[in-house]
Protein backbone atom coordinates (compact mmCIF):
# COMPACT_ATOMS: atom_id res chain seq x y z
CA UNK A 1 0.00 0.00 0.00
CA UNK A 2 1.30 3.39 -0.91
CA UNK A 3 1.25 5.89 1.95
CA UNK A 4 1.07 9.53 1.01
CA UNK A 5 1.64 12.46 3.35
CA UNK A 6 1.52 16.20 2.94
CA UNK A 7 5.02 16.42 4.36
CA UNK A 8 7.80 14.09 5.48
CA UNK A 9 10.37 15.44 7.90
CA UNK A 10 13.63 13.50 8.13
CA UNK A 11 15.15 13.89 11.58
CA UNK A 12 13.87 14.86 15.02
CA UNK A 13 16.38 17.47 16.16
CA UNK A 14 15.50 21.13 16.77
CA UNK A 15 14.99 22.02 13.11
CA UNK A 16 12.97 18.93 12.24
CA UNK A 17 10.86 19.21 15.35
CA UNK A 18 10.15 22.89 14.72
CA UNK A 19 9.04 22.15 11.17
CA UNK A 20 7.00 19.05 12.02
CA UNK A 21 5.30 20.76 14.96
CA UNK A 22 4.10 23.76 12.97
CA UNK A 23 3.06 21.72 9.94
CA UNK A 24 1.04 19.32 12.09
CA UNK A 25 -0.48 22.18 14.03
CA UNK A 26 -1.64 23.72 10.76
CA UNK A 27 -3.51 20.48 10.05
CA UNK A 28 -1.16 18.94 7.54
CA UNK A 29 -0.60 15.21 7.45
CA UNK A 30 2.99 14.90 8.65
CA UNK A 31 5.31 11.93 8.93
CA UNK A 32 8.57 12.40 10.85
CA UNK A 33 11.28 9.77 10.66
CA UNK A 34 14.05 9.48 13.25
CA UNK A 35 16.87 6.95 13.15
CA UNK A 36 17.51 6.93 16.89
CA UNK A 37 15.76 4.79 19.49
CA UNK A 38 14.09 7.99 20.70
CA UNK A 39 14.40 11.61 19.55
CA UNK A 40 17.65 12.94 20.98
CA UNK A 41 19.48 9.63 21.14
CA UNK A 42 21.61 10.63 18.14
CA UNK A 43 21.84 14.33 18.87
CA UNK A 44 24.65 16.29 20.46
CA UNK A 45 24.90 19.91 21.53
CA UNK A 46 26.74 21.96 24.18
CA UNK A 47 23.99 22.87 24.99
CA UNK A 48 22.45 26.33 25.22
CA UNK A 49 18.82 26.90 24.38
CA UNK A 50 17.93 30.37 23.09
CA UNK A 51 14.43 31.13 24.26
CA UNK A 52 13.40 33.49 21.50
CA UNK A 53 13.56 30.96 18.67
CA UNK A 54 11.53 28.39 20.62
CA UNK A 55 9.08 30.96 21.96
CA UNK A 56 8.02 31.77 18.44
CA UNK A 57 7.06 28.12 18.03
CA UNK A 58 5.88 27.09 21.49
CA UNK A 59 5.23 30.32 23.46
CA UNK A 60 4.63 28.56 26.80
CA UNK A 61 7.57 26.13 26.54
CA UNK A 62 8.84 27.13 29.99
CA UNK A 63 5.89 25.39 31.64
CA UNK A 64 7.12 21.88 31.04
CA UNK A 65 10.33 21.87 28.98
CA UNK A 66 13.28 20.20 30.74
CA UNK A 67 15.47 23.24 31.33
CA UNK A 68 18.63 23.03 33.43
CA UNK A 69 19.67 26.57 34.40
CA UNK A 70 19.04 30.03 33.01
CA UNK A 71 22.23 31.90 32.20
CA UNK A 72 23.14 34.81 34.46
CA UNK A 73 26.81 35.01 33.68
CA UNK A 74 28.92 34.75 30.54
CA UNK A 75 32.68 34.45 30.69
CA UNK A 76 35.18 34.63 27.87
CA UNK A 77 38.61 33.18 28.54
CA UNK A 78 41.75 33.66 26.49
CA UNK A 79 44.06 30.89 27.60
CA UNK A 80 47.78 30.34 27.72
CA UNK A 81 49.25 27.07 28.98
CA UNK A 82 48.91 27.87 32.65
CA UNK A 83 46.77 30.98 32.77
CA UNK A 84 43.91 32.82 31.22
CA UNK A 85 42.85 36.42 30.72
CA UNK A 86 39.13 36.65 30.98
CA UNK A 87 36.13 38.88 30.81
CA UNK A 88 32.89 38.34 32.63
CA UNK A 89 29.45 39.72 32.15
CA UNK A 90 27.01 38.99 34.94
CA UNK A 91 23.75 40.78 35.43
CA UNK A 92 20.77 40.63 37.76
CA UNK A 93 18.78 41.52 34.64
CA UNK A 94 19.30 37.94 33.53
CA UNK A 95 17.52 36.86 36.67
CA UNK A 96 14.29 38.49 35.59
CA UNK A 97 11.73 36.38 33.80
CA UNK A 98 11.28 35.57 31.02
CA UNK A 99 14.79 34.18 30.85
CA UNK A 100 16.68 34.54 27.61
CA UNK A 101 19.00 31.53 27.59
CA UNK A 102 19.11 28.18 29.35
CA UNK A 103 21.44 25.25 29.55
CA UNK A 104 19.71 22.06 28.46
CA UNK A 105 20.52 18.37 28.11
CA UNK A 106 19.64 17.51 24.56
CA UNK A 107 18.48 13.93 24.98
CA UNK A 108 15.86 15.14 27.44
CA UNK A 109 14.98 18.32 25.61
CA UNK A 110 14.54 16.63 22.23
CA UNK A 111 12.28 14.01 23.78
CA UNK A 112 10.11 16.80 25.23
CA UNK A 113 10.01 18.70 21.93
CA UNK A 114 9.09 15.53 20.11
CA UNK A 115 6.20 14.88 22.48
CA UNK A 116 4.83 18.30 21.52
CA UNK A 117 5.21 17.39 17.86
CA UNK A 118 3.25 14.18 18.36
CA UNK A 119 0.58 15.94 20.39
CA UNK A 120 0.21 18.38 17.51
CA UNK A 121 -0.71 15.42 15.33
CA UNK A 122 2.45 14.39 13.50
CA UNK A 123 3.20 10.70 13.12
CA UNK A 124 6.68 9.90 14.44
CA UNK A 125 8.51 6.73 13.50
CA UNK A 126 11.75 6.06 15.40
CA UNK A 127 14.51 3.48 14.90
CA UNK A 128 14.21 4.04 11.18
CA UNK A 129 16.99 5.31 8.96
CA UNK A 130 16.06 6.96 5.69
CA UNK A 131 18.43 5.48 3.15
CA UNK A 132 17.49 7.45 0.04
CA UNK A 133 15.22 10.05 -1.42
CA UNK A 134 12.75 8.80 -3.99
CA UNK A 135 12.95 10.89 -7.13
CA UNK A 136 10.73 11.42 -10.12
CA UNK A 137 13.17 13.03 -12.51
CA UNK A 138 14.53 16.01 -10.60
CA UNK A 139 11.66 16.09 -8.18
CA UNK A 140 11.74 14.52 -4.72
CA UNK A 141 8.51 12.58 -4.22
CA UNK A 142 9.26 10.54 -1.10
CA UNK A 143 11.80 8.69 0.98
CA UNK A 144 13.02 5.13 1.19
CA UNK A 145 13.37 3.94 4.78
CA UNK A 146 15.26 0.89 5.99
CA UNK A 147 12.26 -1.18 6.96
CA UNK A 148 9.86 -3.38 5.08
CA UNK A 149 7.60 -1.46 2.73
CA UNK A 150 9.81 1.50 3.55
CA UNK A 151 8.78 3.71 0.63
CA UNK A 152 6.65 6.65 1.71
CA UNK A 153 5.56 9.61 -0.36
CA UNK A 154 4.81 13.26 0.26
CA UNK A 155 4.32 16.57 -1.51
CA UNK A 156 7.35 17.93 0.29
CA UNK A 157 10.32 16.32 2.04
CA UNK A 158 12.04 18.44 4.67
CA UNK A 159 15.64 17.40 5.20
CA UNK A 160 16.45 17.96 8.86
CA UNK A 161 19.00 15.17 8.87
CA UNK A 162 21.85 17.06 10.46
CA UNK A 163 25.35 18.11 9.57
CA UNK A 164 26.26 15.02 7.57
CA UNK A 165 23.07 15.05 5.47
CA UNK A 166 23.89 11.92 3.52
CA UNK A 167 20.56 12.19 1.73
CA UNK A 168 21.45 15.43 -0.03
CA UNK A 169 24.78 13.94 -1.09
CA UNK A 170 23.29 10.70 -2.39
CA UNK A 171 20.71 12.68 -4.36
CA UNK A 172 23.47 14.79 -5.86
CA UNK A 173 22.21 18.05 -4.33
CA UNK A 174 25.43 18.55 -2.33
CA UNK A 175 29.08 17.69 -2.72
CA UNK A 176 30.93 16.15 0.23
CA UNK A 177 31.63 18.58 3.07
CA UNK A 178 34.96 20.36 2.94
CA UNK A 179 37.15 19.81 6.05
CA UNK A 180 37.59 23.57 6.32
CA UNK A 181 33.84 24.06 6.71
CA UNK A 182 33.23 21.75 9.66
CA UNK A 183 34.53 21.66 13.21
CA UNK A 184 34.86 18.50 15.22
CA UNK A 185 33.83 19.02 18.83
CA UNK A 186 34.27 16.50 21.63
CA UNK A 187 32.77 16.90 25.04
CA UNK A 188 32.04 15.20 28.33
CA UNK A 189 29.40 15.55 30.97
CA UNK A 190 30.55 15.44 34.59
CA UNK A 191 28.07 14.99 37.40
CA UNK A 192 28.42 16.81 40.71
CA UNK A 193 25.97 17.47 43.55
CA UNK A 194 23.77 20.47 42.80
CA UNK A 195 25.07 22.48 45.77
CA UNK A 196 28.68 21.91 44.65
CA UNK A 197 27.89 23.29 41.19
CA UNK A 198 26.25 26.33 42.77
CA UNK A 199 29.04 27.00 45.27
CA UNK A 200 31.79 26.48 42.73
CA UNK A 201 30.31 28.95 40.27
CA UNK A 202 28.86 31.35 42.79
CA UNK A 203 25.31 30.90 41.56
CA UNK A 204 21.91 30.36 43.09
CA UNK A 205 19.39 27.63 42.39
CA UNK A 206 18.53 27.50 38.66
CA UNK A 207 21.20 30.10 37.79
CA UNK A 208 23.85 29.14 35.28
CA UNK A 209 27.23 30.16 33.92
CA UNK A 210 28.66 29.91 30.42
CA UNK A 211 32.40 29.97 29.81
CA UNK A 212 33.67 30.24 26.24
CA UNK A 213 37.37 29.71 25.67
CA UNK A 214 39.93 30.46 23.01
CA UNK A 215 43.69 30.04 22.97
CA UNK A 216 46.20 27.36 23.82
CA UNK A 217 43.62 24.68 24.54
CA UNK A 218 43.23 24.20 20.78
CA UNK A 219 47.00 23.88 20.31
CA UNK A 220 47.20 26.28 17.43
CA UNK A 221 44.12 25.00 15.68
CA UNK A 222 41.19 27.24 14.80
CA UNK A 223 38.67 26.40 17.47
CA UNK A 224 37.16 27.08 20.86
CA UNK A 225 36.42 25.43 24.14
CA UNK A 226 33.40 25.72 26.39
CA UNK A 227 32.12 24.89 29.83
CA UNK A 228 28.43 25.07 30.78
CA UNK A 229 26.73 24.49 34.11
CA UNK A 230 23.70 22.23 34.23
CA UNK A 231 21.53 21.52 37.25
CA UNK A 232 23.80 18.87 38.71
CA UNK A 233 26.39 18.44 36.05
CA UNK A 234 28.93 20.32 33.99
CA UNK A 235 29.48 19.86 30.28
CA UNK A 236 32.78 20.86 28.82
CA UNK A 237 34.31 20.37 25.45
CA UNK A 238 36.58 21.62 22.73
CA UNK A 239 36.11 21.90 19.00
CA UNK A 240 38.49 22.64 16.11
CA UNK A 241 38.17 22.81 12.36
CA UNK A 242 38.62 19.46 10.65
CA UNK A 243 41.06 20.99 8.18
CA UNK A 244 43.31 21.80 11.16
CA UNK A 245 42.80 18.43 12.84
CA UNK A 246 43.89 16.88 9.56
CA UNK A 247 47.26 18.61 9.81
CA UNK A 248 48.46 17.50 13.20
CA UNK A 249 49.01 14.57 15.49
CA UNK A 250 46.89 15.27 18.55
CA UNK A 251 43.81 13.12 18.89
CA UNK A 252 40.54 14.87 19.79
CA UNK A 253 40.34 13.04 23.10
CA UNK A 254 43.91 13.98 24.00
CA UNK A 255 42.99 17.60 23.31
CA UNK A 256 40.00 17.30 25.64
CA UNK A 257 42.11 15.61 28.31
CA UNK A 258 44.69 18.40 28.15
CA UNK A 259 41.97 21.01 28.39
CA UNK A 260 40.64 19.31 31.52
CA UNK A 261 44.14 19.44 33.03
CA UNK A 262 44.43 23.20 32.60
CA UNK A 263 45.06 24.66 36.07
CA UNK A 264 42.05 26.98 35.73
CA UNK A 265 39.68 24.27 34.52
CA UNK A 266 40.70 21.27 36.61
CA UNK A 267 39.31 22.58 39.91
CA UNK A 268 35.95 23.38 38.30
CA UNK A 269 35.29 19.74 37.46
CA UNK A 270 37.19 18.15 40.36
CA UNK A 271 35.37 15.25 41.97
CA UNK A 272 32.85 15.00 39.17
CA UNK A 273 31.75 11.70 37.69
CA UNK A 274 32.08 11.55 33.91
CA UNK A 275 29.01 9.84 32.52
CA UNK A 276 29.19 10.38 28.77
CA UNK A 277 31.71 11.22 26.08
CA UNK A 278 30.35 12.57 22.82
CA UNK A 279 31.62 13.88 19.50
CA UNK A 280 29.84 15.86 16.85
CA UNK A 281 30.55 17.90 13.75
CA UNK A 282 29.51 21.53 13.65
CA UNK A 283 28.98 23.16 10.26
CA UNK A 284 30.99 26.35 10.66
CA UNK A 285 31.68 27.28 7.06
CA UNK A 286 29.37 30.25 7.32
CA UNK A 287 27.48 32.12 4.64
CA UNK A 288 29.81 31.25 1.78
CA UNK A 289 29.49 27.53 2.49
CA UNK A 290 25.69 27.39 2.49
CA UNK A 291 24.70 24.70 -0.01
CA UNK A 292 21.57 24.44 -2.11
CA UNK A 293 18.74 24.50 0.43
CA UNK A 294 15.63 23.84 -1.63
CA UNK A 295 14.56 22.24 -4.88
CA UNK A 296 11.57 20.55 -6.45
CA UNK A 297 9.82 18.74 -3.63
CA UNK A 298 12.41 19.38 -0.90
CA UNK A 299 13.59 21.90 1.65
CA UNK A 300 16.61 21.79 3.92
CA UNK A 301 16.81 23.12 7.48
CA UNK A 302 19.23 23.32 10.41
CA UNK A 303 22.77 21.95 10.46
CA UNK A 304 22.26 20.20 7.11
CA UNK A 305 21.96 23.68 5.58
CA UNK A 306 25.08 25.01 7.42
CA UNK A 307 22.97 27.32 9.57
CA UNK A 308 25.44 27.93 12.40
CA UNK A 309 26.73 31.27 13.59
CA UNK A 310 30.16 30.14 14.74
CA UNK A 311 31.20 33.57 16.02
CA UNK A 312 28.37 33.71 18.53
CA UNK A 313 28.18 29.96 19.15
CA UNK A 314 24.58 29.86 17.96
CA UNK A 315 23.09 26.96 16.04
CA UNK A 316 20.00 25.48 17.62
CA UNK A 317 18.17 28.80 17.33
CA UNK A 318 19.04 29.02 13.64
CA UNK A 319 17.90 25.42 13.33
CA UNK A 320 14.53 26.05 14.98
CA UNK A 321 14.02 29.26 13.04
CA UNK A 322 14.82 27.66 9.70
CA UNK A 323 12.46 24.80 10.61
CA UNK A 324 9.76 27.32 11.40
CA UNK A 325 10.29 29.26 8.17
CA UNK A 326 10.27 26.03 6.16
CA UNK A 327 6.94 25.08 7.74
CA UNK A 328 5.51 28.55 7.13
CA UNK A 329 6.59 28.31 3.50
CA UNK A 330 4.89 24.95 2.99
CA UNK A 331 1.73 26.08 4.80
CA UNK A 332 1.53 29.25 2.69
CA UNK A 333 1.94 27.34 -0.57
CA UNK A 334 -0.69 24.81 0.49
CA UNK A 335 -3.15 27.56 1.35
CA UNK A 336 -2.61 29.17 -2.03
CA UNK A 337 -3.03 25.83 -3.77
CA UNK A 338 0.49 26.07 -5.18
CA UNK A 339 2.69 23.05 -5.79
CA UNK A 340 6.05 22.44 -4.12
CA UNK A 341 8.20 23.39 -7.07
CA UNK A 342 11.64 24.93 -6.75
CA UNK A 343 10.30 28.24 -8.06
CA UNK A 344 7.52 28.36 -5.47
CA UNK A 345 9.79 27.21 -2.65
CA UNK A 346 12.04 30.22 -3.29
CA UNK A 347 9.73 31.79 -0.74
CA UNK A 348 11.71 29.86 1.90
CA UNK A 349 14.91 31.60 0.85
CA UNK A 350 13.14 34.97 0.96
CA UNK A 351 11.94 34.30 4.48
CA UNK A 352 15.43 33.24 5.55
CA UNK A 353 17.02 36.31 3.96
CA UNK A 354 14.58 38.43 5.86
CA UNK A 355 15.40 36.78 9.20
CA UNK A 356 18.37 36.96 11.56
CA UNK A 357 19.51 33.59 10.18
CA UNK A 358 20.85 34.90 6.88
CA UNK A 359 21.48 38.43 8.14
CA UNK A 360 23.86 37.19 10.82
CA UNK A 361 25.53 34.64 8.58
CA UNK A 362 26.03 37.35 5.94
CA UNK A 363 27.47 39.74 8.51
CA UNK A 364 30.24 37.29 9.40
CA UNK A 365 30.77 35.87 5.94
CA UNK A 366 34.47 36.84 5.90
CA UNK A 367 35.22 35.47 9.35
CA UNK A 368 35.96 31.81 8.54
CA UNK A 369 38.35 32.76 5.73
CA UNK A 370 40.20 35.30 7.84
CA UNK A 371 40.60 32.95 10.78
CA UNK A 372 41.79 30.09 8.57
CA UNK A 373 44.55 32.30 7.19
CA UNK A 374 45.53 33.87 10.51
CA UNK A 375 46.24 31.27 13.16
CA UNK A 376 47.90 33.95 15.30
CA UNK A 377 44.49 34.78 16.72
CA UNK A 378 44.48 31.33 18.34
CA UNK A 379 48.14 31.15 19.32
CA UNK A 380 50.25 34.31 19.42
CA UNK A 381 47.69 36.73 20.80
CA UNK A 382 46.46 34.56 23.66
CA UNK A 383 50.08 34.06 24.68
CA UNK A 384 50.97 37.75 24.40
CA UNK A 385 47.88 38.83 26.31
CA UNK A 386 48.55 36.41 29.14
CA UNK A 387 52.21 37.40 29.38
CA UNK A 388 51.25 41.06 29.46
CA UNK A 389 48.75 40.45 32.23
CA UNK A 390 51.28 38.41 34.14
CA UNK A 391 53.90 41.12 33.85
CA UNK A 392 51.60 43.94 34.93
CA UNK A 393 50.22 41.95 37.85
CA UNK A 394 53.55 40.74 39.19
CA UNK A 395 54.96 43.22 41.69
CA UNK A 396 58.71 42.88 41.46
CA UNK A 397 60.27 46.32 41.76
CA UNK A 398 60.26 46.98 38.01
CA UNK A 399 58.47 50.24 37.20
CA UNK A 400 55.25 50.08 35.19
CA UNK A 401 56.56 52.14 32.27
CA UNK A 402 59.38 49.67 31.73
CA UNK A 403 56.90 46.84 31.89
CA UNK A 404 54.74 48.50 29.26
CA UNK A 405 57.77 48.99 27.05
CA UNK A 406 58.62 45.31 27.44
CA UNK A 407 55.08 44.26 26.57
CA UNK A 408 55.07 46.48 23.51
CA UNK A 409 58.42 45.01 22.47
CA UNK A 410 57.01 41.50 22.81
CA UNK A 411 54.03 42.32 20.62
CA UNK A 412 56.28 43.92 18.00
CA UNK A 413 58.72 41.02 18.09
CA UNK A 414 55.95 38.50 17.55
CA UNK A 415 53.82 40.31 15.00
CA UNK A 416 55.66 43.50 13.83
CA UNK A 417 53.88 46.83 13.58
CA UNK A 418 52.38 46.02 10.18
CA UNK A 419 51.31 42.63 11.44
CA UNK A 420 49.53 44.20 14.39
CA UNK A 421 47.84 46.82 12.24
CA UNK A 422 46.91 44.22 9.66
CA UNK A 423 45.41 41.98 12.32
CA UNK A 424 43.39 44.84 13.75
CA UNK A 425 42.11 45.63 10.26
CA UNK A 426 41.24 42.00 9.58
CA UNK A 427 39.27 41.76 12.81
CA UNK A 428 37.48 45.00 12.05
CA UNK A 429 36.54 43.68 8.61
CA UNK A 430 35.41 40.36 10.01
CA UNK A 431 33.11 42.00 12.54
CA UNK A 432 32.09 45.02 10.48
Amino acid sequence: MEEKFDAIVVGAGPSGNAAAYLLAKAGLKVLQIERGEYPGSKNVQGAILYSDALERIIPDFREDAPLERHIVEQQMWVLDDESYVGSTYRSAEFNKEPYNRYTIIRAQFDKWFSKKVQEAGALLICETTVSNLIMDGDRVIGVQADREGGAVYADIVILADGVNSLLAKKAGFHAELDPKDVALAVKEIHFLPQNVVEERFNIGEDEGVVIEMVGKITQGMMGTGFLYTNKESITLGVGCMLSDFKMQKTTPYALLEQMKEHPAIRPLIAGGEMKEYTAHLIPEGGYKAIPKIYGDGWLMVGDAAMFVNAVHREGSNLAMTSGRLAAETVIALKEQGKSMTEANLALYREKLDDSFVMKDLKKYKEMPGILHKNPQFFTTYPELLNRAAHSMLTVDGVDKKSKEREIRRNFMAKRSLFGLMGDAFKMWRAFE
Binding site: R35, T128, L177, V182
Partner: protein, 95 residues
Protein backbone atom coordinates in the same frame (compact mmCIF):
# COMPACT_ATOMS: atom_id res chain seq x y z
CA UNK B 1 48.71 7.94 26.89
CA UNK B 2 45.00 8.58 27.06
CA UNK B 3 42.83 5.59 26.49
CA UNK B 4 39.70 6.52 24.59
CA UNK B 5 38.22 3.17 25.60
CA UNK B 6 37.84 4.49 29.14
CA UNK B 7 35.69 7.31 27.82
CA UNK B 8 33.65 5.16 25.45
CA UNK B 9 32.99 2.77 28.32
CA UNK B 10 30.59 5.37 29.76
CA UNK B 11 28.50 5.40 26.59
CA UNK B 12 25.51 3.27 25.62
CA UNK B 13 25.59 1.40 22.35
CA UNK B 14 23.39 -1.05 20.55
CA UNK B 15 25.92 -2.76 18.34
CA UNK B 16 24.62 -4.17 15.07
CA UNK B 17 26.83 -7.26 15.17
CA UNK B 18 28.01 -8.29 11.75
CA UNK B 19 26.73 -5.11 10.08
CA UNK B 20 29.38 -2.39 10.44
CA UNK B 21 28.01 0.86 9.03
CA UNK B 22 31.42 2.12 7.93
CA UNK B 23 33.95 0.30 5.81
CA UNK B 24 37.21 1.00 4.03
CA UNK B 25 36.61 0.77 0.30
CA UNK B 26 40.08 -0.24 -0.77
CA UNK B 27 42.43 -1.25 2.07
CA UNK B 28 45.42 -1.19 -0.32
CA UNK B 29 45.07 2.58 -0.68
CA UNK B 30 45.49 3.04 3.08
CA UNK B 31 48.40 0.67 3.26
CA UNK B 32 50.30 1.79 0.18
CA UNK B 33 49.15 5.20 -0.98
CA UNK B 34 48.02 7.23 2.02
CA UNK B 35 50.93 8.87 3.84
CA UNK B 36 49.09 10.65 6.60
CA UNK B 37 46.58 8.06 7.88
CA UNK B 38 44.79 10.91 9.61
CA UNK B 39 41.79 8.68 10.31
CA UNK B 40 43.93 7.02 12.98
CA UNK B 41 44.47 10.42 14.62
CA UNK B 42 41.22 12.31 14.03
CA UNK B 43 38.56 9.73 14.83
CA UNK B 44 37.27 10.82 18.25
CA UNK B 45 36.45 7.23 19.14
CA UNK B 46 39.75 5.76 18.01
CA UNK B 47 38.01 3.36 15.64
CA UNK B 48 40.93 3.34 13.22
CA UNK B 49 44.26 1.83 14.19
CA UNK B 50 47.37 1.35 12.15
CA UNK B 51 49.05 -2.01 12.32
CA UNK B 52 52.81 -2.25 12.08
CA UNK B 53 52.76 -2.87 8.34
CA UNK B 54 50.76 0.28 7.57
CA UNK B 55 47.51 -1.62 7.33
CA UNK B 56 44.54 0.26 8.77
CA UNK B 57 42.08 -1.68 10.89
CA UNK B 58 38.61 -0.29 11.43
CA UNK B 59 36.36 -1.42 14.27
CA UNK B 60 33.14 0.56 14.35
CA UNK B 61 31.73 -0.65 17.69
CA UNK B 62 32.67 2.57 19.55
CA UNK B 63 31.69 4.90 16.70
CA UNK B 64 30.09 8.19 17.75
CA UNK B 65 28.65 8.68 14.25
CA UNK B 66 30.20 12.09 13.78
CA UNK B 67 31.34 11.75 10.14
CA UNK B 68 34.91 12.93 10.66
CA UNK B 69 36.60 9.94 9.00
CA UNK B 70 34.55 10.29 5.83
CA UNK B 71 35.27 14.00 5.46
CA UNK B 72 38.98 14.02 6.27
CA UNK B 73 39.68 11.22 3.79
CA UNK B 74 39.45 13.87 1.10
CA UNK B 75 42.36 12.70 -1.09
CA UNK B 76 41.23 9.12 -1.50
CA UNK B 77 37.51 9.15 -0.63
CA UNK B 78 38.15 5.70 0.71
CA UNK B 79 35.56 5.59 3.50
CA UNK B 80 32.16 4.06 2.81
CA UNK B 81 29.97 5.72 5.41
CA UNK B 82 26.32 5.03 6.16
CA UNK B 83 24.25 5.59 9.25
CA UNK B 84 23.68 2.42 11.25
CA UNK B 85 20.38 0.69 10.67
CA UNK B 86 17.51 2.29 12.51
CA UNK B 87 17.82 1.95 16.28
CA UNK B 88 21.44 0.71 16.22
CA UNK B 89 24.68 2.44 17.07
CA UNK B 90 25.36 5.05 19.71
CA UNK B 91 22.49 5.91 22.05
CA UNK B 92 23.22 9.19 23.74
CA UNK B 93 21.87 9.36 27.29
CA UNK B 94 22.54 13.09 27.56
CA UNK B 95 23.85 14.22 24.18
Amino acid sequence: MIKVENKLFQNRYKVDAGHPHISIRNPDLCQNECKSLQCTVCCPAGCYTEEGNGKVVLITDGCLECGTCRIICSEFRNVEWEYPRGGYGILFKFG
